[in-house]
Symmetry: C2
């Protein structure tokens, strides 16, 4: 039987500011204009995001105040629990102390509302009435649909075709919130039509879906683009996670040696790890941060650090990031939120500076870890989150081998209630690992823009 302790904070303990690691990371490469190659300014972004988000994207201020209406909506489910994983520890026979920060208590079951609420708020303040976005597994799209309902904004979500077919309940969730959900590539945009002309059976990708959403926003002055990951302001908003965790560890009289997060675009990992890295960068205790990425879409472990587009069609500013090439279409994978060709510039820079250690793990190993976690801790993790579970388990087993009782924190970014068919596939033995094709990466990297 388990003895767990949830280290609770009250709503008054929700951070009053987001933490911006750009203030503490030296030599950060700026985003560049795709045509001229010059460093972009906030004005360059105003066609698709409101002024305050454009400012946040480029600011070097260490703290950005969280508007009180956003904090009050956070208080619906925040602070999220930090839970000691006694059941998992015992099943592993490890001397490690394992903790997880659980974001699945939000209304859509993941960390995504942390930025969806903020982005909807700033767009509403700016007089925008419609938002367009992409989504992979649907965690982001349903969270923006939620935020759109609360702020009375029309939301259109371009959902990666593969996940659209795999996860019908996510579409229904968006529709219940009143949003429109379209399979991507779609016939609604030039981007989508061009891709369908070449490949009518395209499974889509986050890069393609992003292009569709950005295209819609750029062509309609009443529509803005909302981004679910990758960009600086998105990672900024997620830092409530790590800041809360630091306060909760103080209550627990402990502090992590190892911090693990899954990384697709990088917002979950950044949100959890950056506040800890900030402490370290300002002279505090160092932490070993590990980014868990899928072996079939290994931007950090197999890709190249270079300026590339955030989307497939090349509408976004050029971002300096680990990339497999913006034309790379990842193989099918149940962790749709991790099927992205690149990695957030802030995470990429931290990797390049040796502050974050990337590790690639296979889908079947992750589901095995997810089932073990469900049966020992009681929560079924989202497929994305199982990547962090798997790496945390490896670290805990290493502690056992070495006889060292380290403190391991991992981000449980969401629950898997919408992803159970993948668990069924795993349990019935029909789940396969997607194959990474280095040749496709090489071809995509040959198309990198010239900066």
């Amino acid at each position: 039987m388990n003895h767990r302790v949830q280290f609770p904070l009250g709503a008054a303990d929700i951070p009053r500011a987001w933490y911006n690691i750009a203030a503490d990371l030296p030599d950060l490469a700026p985003p560049r204009h795709p045509a001229s190659g010059r460093a972009i300014t906030p004005d360059d972004l105003l066609a698709i995001v409101p002024e305050e988000l454009a400012r946040q994207e480029l600011t070097l201020d260490r703290e950005v105040a969280i508007p009180e209406p956003v904090r009050q909506l956070y208080a619906r489910w925040r602070p999220s629990p930090l839970i000691r994983a006694h059941g998992l520890e015992r099943s592993l026979g490890t001397p490690a102390r394992i903790y997880y920060k659980y974001e699945g208590v939000s209304p859509t079951g993941s960390h995504k509302p942390n930025t969806a609420i903020a982005q909807a708020y700033y767009n509403k303040q700016a007089g925008i009435t419609k938002l367009a976005t992409e989504t992979g597994a649907g965690q982001w799209g349903s969270s923006l649909a939620l935020a759109g309902a609360l702020f009375e904004l029309d939301v259109s979500v371009y959902m990666v075709r593969l996940s659209f077919d795999q996860k019908p309940y996510r579409q229904m969730l968006m529709q219940t919130y009143g949003a429109r959900c379209v399979a991507s590539p779609s016939t609604e945009t030039e981007t989508g039509r061009a891709i369908l002309a070449r490949d009518p059976d395209s499974p889509g990708s986050l890069g393609i879906a992003s292009s569709e959403a950005v295209e819609v926003a750029a062509n309609d002055p009443t529509t803005n683009y909302a981004c679910g990951s990758v960009l600086n302001h998105v990672l900024l908003h997620q830092t409530v996670i790590g800041q809360e965790a630091i306060a909760q560890f103080a209550l627990a009289d402990d502090y992590p040696d190892v911090v693990v997060g899954c990384a697709g675009g990088g917002s979950n990992l950044g949100g959890l790890a950056f506040p800890f890295l900030g402490e370290q960068l300002r002279g505090g205790k160092p932490v070993h941060v590990i980014a868990a990425e899928p072996a079939s879409c290994p931007s950090m472990t197999r890709g190249t650090l270079a300026y590339d587009f955030g989307d497939t069609a090349g509408f976004t500013p050029l971002l300096r990031m680990y990339t497999l090439g913006h034309g790379f279409i990842p193989p099918p994978l149940h962790a749709g939120g991790l099927r992205y060709h690149g990695m957030a510039p802030l995470v990429s820079e931290a990797v390049a500076q040796g502050l974050i250690d990337p590790v690639a793990v296979t889908q079947t190993a992750c589901f095995a870890a997810g089932v073990r976690f469900a049966r020992t801790e009681g929560i079924v993790p989202a497929p994305e989150s199982t990547h962090a579970v798997e790496v945390a388990i490896r670290e805990a087993l290493r502690c056992r081998e070495e006889g060292i009782g380290r403190t391991i924190l991992f981000g449980l970014s969401g629950h898997g209630h919408f992803d159970l068919s993948a668990y069924e596939d795993y349990l019935s033995g029909t789940l396969r690992d997607g194959e990474f094709d280095p040749g496709k990466m090489t071809a995509a990297l040959a198309e990198l823009p010239d900066v």
Copy 2:
């Protein structure tokens, strides 16, 4: 934009004892032995439940201490939030203050783990290795599967055929926890085989599934029966909900005038309302408690108060309750957790004594309320919970008509992440109300046992 306040408590504020309303309800009719008609003793129950649960079923003690291991597991998600529904209030233009107690933050997304954890604990302590149970919509079955995983007990769940087909993700959730889920009526029991012989297309019912589980437990000394609602000890375990709410209202400096819960077997309603009724019965402030039941399965508003079996085959003790007759098979309904022929004896007695006011509502009205709630408050309610939402909205509109600002509390017993196909049916206009057939009730009531 919403200004919400979640009235938080820490894990230290989780109640240390469950509240037993049997101590305060005068003239409670005892359960009777089906053969002799005499009042049962704890010994009569030992074939299917452990000694401590048998004791709790019949005790008149006002408080039953919560074992510390159970409290520590509760601390994983409890205290659950009490949330002021500012968004819903504004959309209704009501002077009412509406609050909801949200149980969807549990690992399985409903209130059911409150008793599943407790029952698994007592069975484990008693040396039992296997549990059998019934489930309707799957909220209970998946919660017992969770508890079984945490206490390493084998769990078999007989799931009402209608819900088994409607909600495949619930089956997958149980399997992920390592439990076995079987459509009921099944060929595994004499009960199931007899019903299938008469009606091979039987949609099943909670009463049938209960009979299957009780039959299995009664015939195997290593298997016990775990019950998801109706029985006294189940309602007892759920009283953590109402006790927490009382403490949270004290923090909010408010107190409900009206308390609303949905009622199928009665455990969610009892868990929320009994602690408030206990205050009232001991001289505290009176509350108007409303039980929301489905119009297609209206045990309290159309049924009869009589001794009847809790299950279809007649294996359980005779319970004095509002019933449509244990042979009554309710029409199909998405709120599978409310498809039960009877009502918990403790709730039934409170209704009979005028302490609880039952109201029947239709399925389509409930889904309309559920969509309104999702779009104004951000949480998609379980179909069962929409019954409470609908009645709370009616009460709030009555406040608007009368110009009176009452305080309304309702139980949001779970989220609807597993029930989105029902929302899709509603939004596409294909959802139909099940018809209640009074003739079938009359026929079933003619078969009431003679006590």
